[in-house]
């Protein structure tokens, strides 16, 4: 028996978002007293895997697997589950991991439990706490499948250094063909994505027009943050759809979410609720967002944001 963690990599390096998944896997492996195996694709450095707890590392080197392909990746992980006696598979909450988690459970005839917010409350029966109803509730869920496939909510467990043995393990794969091909990926380069960001700076209709986003981007720059927006802003074409966060947009689970000129409609809150700290800047003291916020400033964004940028710049 062993636990398998799926780790994501970019340009041959393990992505930071996977450190938390490995940390979770390490803690669960200790609790269950079994080994932790990490799988990665086309990776060249393995220190991080070891540092956060991998006992064994399976690195699949294959030119055909340069791009994430849920069909091939899930077939390979299925081979691993069967030949290494894996009882728990752990994935993160990025779009790729959620895609893979659901697909993998389908081909292994098991199930996938997503949005898990902490270590299992018990191992036998296997019960986990997961968020549901757009973070307005938690479910204590008992999982009865033989192999358990778990998706861990971002920023719910934390990154913990606890080295494992870190031995590389050879594994020959047989899954190589697919009737599904990833043709092309178009990614913005040099920009921090909403999924990877520790801080997200988001703005709404209160900004009055797309020409006023300069200060939002500048604030995001100073903070090393990603930029996001509310639904009306993306509907009106002020900002690209990929920046829309909320129930029908992207989910946000950052450490700090800064909402500027966003009133805080329920649909918006549903998508950003799992962010740890929410700071709201709005000139309307009655804006519903203040009820969901940790910190707030009632005032004019056009005065406050430039001042914030100045203070942050001078304290660097």
């Amino acid at each position: 028996m062993a636990i398998l963690v799926y780790t994501e990599s970019e340009k041959n390096e393990i992505k930071k978002s996977s450190f938390e998944t490995i940390s979770f896997g390490r803690a669960l492996a200790d609790k269950m007293n079994i080994d932790l195996i990490c799988i990665c694709f086309n990776c060249s450095s393995f220190e991080h895997l070891k540092q956060y707890g991998a006992d064994e590392i399976v690195n699949i080197e294959d030119q055909n697997l340069e791009k994430f392909n849920s069909k091939l990746y899930s077939s390979i992980i299925k081979e691993l589950i069967e030949s290494l006696g894996i009882s728990v598979v752990i994935l993160g909450s990025t779009p790729d991991s959620k895609y893979l988690g659901a697909h993998l459970s389908g081909i292994t005839n098991t199930t996938y439990t997503s949005n898990i917010v902490g270590l299992p409350e018990s191992i036998n029966p296997f019960t986990v706490k997961r968020s549901c109803f757009s973070n307005k509730a938690f479910s204590l869920t008992e999982i009865n499948s033989e192999v358990k496939i778990l998706g861990i909510s971002s920023n719910s467990f934390g990154i913990i250094e606890k080295p494992g043995r870190g031995n590389l393990k050879e594994f020959d794969i047989t899954s190589k063909n697919s009737t599904l091909q990833v043709i092309n990926t178009e990614k913005q380069t040099g920009k921090i994505t909403i999924e990877d960001a520790d801080i997200v700076v988001s703005a709404g209709r209160g900004l009055k027009g797309p020409e006023n986003w300069g200060m939002i981007e500048e604030l995001a720059d100073v903070l090393g943050a990603a930029t996001a927006c509310s639904k009306p802003v993306s509907d009106m074409g002020w900002r690209p759809h990929s920046e829309h966060v909320g129930q029908t947009g992207k989910p946000v689970a950052s450490n700090l979410y800064i909402a500027i000129g966003i009133s805080g409609a329920i649909q918006h809150l549903a998508g950003i609720n799992s962010s740890k700290i929410k700071l709201v800047i709005n000139n309307d003291p009655e804006a519903p967002f203040f009820k969901a916020a940790d910190y707030g400033i009632v005032g004019d964004a056009f005065e406050i944001v430039p001042q914030l940028i100045n203070i942050l710049n001078s304290s660097k």
């Binding site: 997503s114 938690f138 009865n144 599904l180 091909q181 649909q267 910190y295 400033i297």
Partner: protein
């Protein structure tokens, strides 16, 4: 071309979330149910494909009689026929198995499910279904073109979009972007009248056992009151973010 759109009957976004029976069941009292928004984007796309691809569109839900209202709405929006599998949807696994069972009796080229439902947020049914049926699968789908048995899909990824080509049959996890919010079809009187003539078939459940059980529900702790700062206290605010919240 045959398209199946799987519909989830979910509480309206603005509903109060409460639980009954010792916090083991969702309290439906006073709650209005709607078509899961992610499913509705998929349904609209499917209705468009009636024109562009000469498609026939079936909608399906797994649920009790109370879910027929939203199936009628789907028919009014433009689906050709509806199927209700008569069962209480207890977990993603049993729901996906029920749908798989139906798909074995009826060949579909494309099966569309929302990327996740807005109630349980599991995001598991489309992937399970694709795996069970051994169909190709693309989720977070924001673009779909089908030509001579092949699909070209766009998938939203971290910081961009990915283009995927695959053979049919396939399962799609739909979301906003596949069509826009402004494209959603509001049924008109003619649509509503025509929906009454369309078939709504009730199929008995296979009573498939579940893999997960929601033992009980809880709500997050009450939020502490917001800490307000005056516009001239920005230094103090930043100090709080750094030293108290430790997020800077």
């Amino acid at each position: 071309m045959n398209i199946l759109v799987c519909i989830s009957n979910v509480p309206d976004t603005t509903s109060k979330i409460n639980f009954t029976d010792n916090n083991t069941k969702f309290d439906k009292n006073g709650v209005q149910f709607i078509i899961n928004p992610n499913d509705e984007f998929g349904l609209t796309k499917a209705v468009w494909m009636k024109e562009s691809n000469n498609a026939s569109v079936t909608v399906l839900t797994v649920g009790d009689q109370s879910s027929e209202a939203i199936l009628r709405k789907c028919l009014a929006i433009g689906a050709d026929k509806a199927i209700r599998i008569d069962s209480f949807p207890e977990d993603g696994f049993s729901v996906a198995k029920e749908i798989e069972d139906h798909c074995k009796t009826q060949q579909y080229d494309i099966i569309i499910c929302g990327r996740e439902s807005i109630d349980y947020n599991g995001g598991v049914v489309p992937g399970l279904l694709a795996g069970f049926l051994d169909y190709n699968f693309v989720t977070n789908c924001v673009g779909l073109d089908v030509e001579s048995g092949k699909a070209k899909c766009s998938r939203e990824i971290s910081g961009g979009v990915e283009i995927i080509e695959c053979e049919l049959p396939m399962v799609i996890g739909s979301q906003k972007g596949l069509v826009e919010e402004s494209d959603l079809i509001i049924p008109n009187m003619r649509g509503i009248m025509m929906a009454r003539q369309k078939s709504l078939e009730v199929v008995s459940s296979k009573k498939i056992s579940t893999k997960t059980l929601d033992k009980n529900f809880s709500k997050p702790d009450e939020k502490s009151e917001v800490k307000l700062f005056k516009p001239e206290e920005l230094d103090k605010l930043i100090d709080h973010l750094k030293n108290e919240a430790k997020v800077l």
